[in-house]
Symmetry: C2
Subunit: 198 residues, 2 copies
DNA sequence: ATTGTTCTAGAATTTTATTCTAACTTTTGA
DNA sequence: TCAAAAGTTAGAATAAAATTCTAGAACAAT
C-alpha cells in the first residue's frame, strides 16, 4: 500500500489555504500562481508538481469542499430518521450551517461551479452522483408512501434548495445584510409549502 | 450633440456577437482576444479602442443582456395590470421566455454574474437598482393591500424567482432534459404557494 | 479643403501560465 | 546501513495570452 508523505499533505494544505485566501480578496482569474506561491511559501515547481496546473488547484478546492458539505448533509439526514419535515429541515439547516462555517470556501465553490468546464470533470461528476443518491435514498421512500408530494425529479433541487443557495450566495457577496440563518425558518417553511401534500 | 458613428455600432455588434459565439463553445477565460478578432474581423487595436479590455467586452455583453431582459419584464408586468396572480406569472413567464429566446446570451450572463468583480461595476449596479425598482413598483401595492404575503425584502427574489433561474441555468448547461417552459406551470404554482396569503 | 476627432491595424511589450532540468529528500529493500 | 528509486522542490526558460503603443486611415464639422 502506498503511504502518502507527510510533506505532501502539508504542502497541499498550505497551497489550498493560500489560494482560498487569495480568492476571498479577488476574482479567481485575477489571482496569479505567483501570488499563491508567495502566500503559501511553495515554489512554482512544487505547485505544479502537486496540482498539475491552476485548474488543478481549483478542482481540488471544489472537490474537497463539496465532499465536506456532502458528509455534513448525510449525517444530518441520518438523524432525521425518515420524518418528512425533519428531512427537509436537515437539508436546509445543514446547507446554511456549512456555508456560515466556511464562508470563503462556500464563496469559491459558488463562483466556480458556474463555469461550464467545472461540472464536467470526473471527480465533480462523482460527487454529483453521490449527492443525487443520498437525496434519493432519503426522500424517495417518503414520496412513494405519499407523505411528500411528487415533483419532477429535475425540478426538485431547484424548488427545494435553490432558494437557500441563492440567498447564501448573495449574503456571501454582501448583497444582503442578514445571514442565511436569520431566515432559516422561512426557507424551511417555503420548501415545506412546495413539498407537502395538498 | 455627439453623434455615434455608424461604424462604431456595427463594429461593437460584430465583436459582441463573435464573443457570444466563442463563449457558447468554450469557457470565457479560454477564449482569447485573438479568437474574437478572427471571428469578428476586427483588429486587436479596434477591439481595445471600443472596449478597453477583455473585461469591457464581458461587461458590455452583460449590461446589454440584462437591459434587454429587464425591458421584457417591465412590459410583461404592465400587462398584468396589478392582478396578483398575473404579476407572478408575468415575472416567471418573461424570464423563461427570455432565456429560451436567447440561450447563448443567458448562459453567458449566468456564468458571468457569479464573478465577484462583475456585480460591483457601476452599469450593473444601475441595472440592479432598476430591477429592484420595477419589482417594488409592481408588488409593493399588492403587499400593502394584503393581497400578497409580506416577505423580508432580501428574501423575495430568492424565494420567488431563484428556482426558475436555477432550473434555467441547469437546462442551459444540459444538466436537465426538458426546457424550462415544460415546467412553467409548476414554477408559477410554486411561487404562488410562497406568496399567497394564508 | 482643412482640421480635429475617432477608428483601425498590427508590431512591440508585459504579464502570466506552464514546462523543464537539476538538485534535494524521503522511502524502500537488499 | 547503504544504494537505488521515487517523490519533491527550486527557479530559470519557454510559451501563450493580454495589453499598450504608434502611425496612419476614415470621418465629421466648419
Amino acid at each position: 500500500m502506498k503511504q502518502e508523505r507527510l510533506s505532501t499533505r502539508i504542502r497541499r494544505r498550505a497551497v489550498l489555504e493560500a489560494a482560498l485566501d487569495c480568492f476571498a480578496e479577488a476574482d479567481v482569474e485575477s489571482v496569479s500562481i505567483a501570488e499563491i506561491c508567495d502566500r503559501s511559501g511553495a515554489s512554482v515547481g512544487s505547485v505544479y508538481h502537486h496540482f498539475g496546473n491552476k485548474e488543478g488547484i481549483l478542482l481540488a478546492l471544489l472537490s474537497d469542499g463539496l465532499t465536506a458539505h456532502l458528509e455534513a448533509l448525510e449525517q444530518a439526514l441520518e438523524q432525521a430518521e425518515g420524518h418528512p419535515r425533519a428531512c427537509i429541515e436537515a437539508l436546509i439547516d445543514s446547507l446554511i450551517q456549512w456555508v456560515e462555517a466556511n464562508p470563503r470556501w462556500a464563496q469559491f465553490i459558488y463562483s466556480y461551479l458556474n463555469r461550464s468546464g467545472a461540472s464536467s470533470s470526473e471527480p465533480i461528476l462523482e460527487i454529483n452522483r453521490r449527492y443525487k443518491q443520498i437525496i434519493e435514498q432519503h426522500f424517495e421512500p417518503l414520496i412513494q408512501s405519499g407523505r411528500l408530494r411528487e415533483l419532477p425529479t429535475d425540478c426538485w433541487s431547484s424548488l427545494i434548495v435553490a432558494p437557500t443557495h441563492d440567498y447564501a450566495r448573495r449574503w456571501l457577496r454582501q448583497q444582503v445584510r442578514h445571514s442565511p440563518s436569520t431566515h432559516q425558518r422561512l426557507f424551511i417553511e417555503a420548501a415545506w409549502r412546495i413539498v407537502q401534500c395538498d
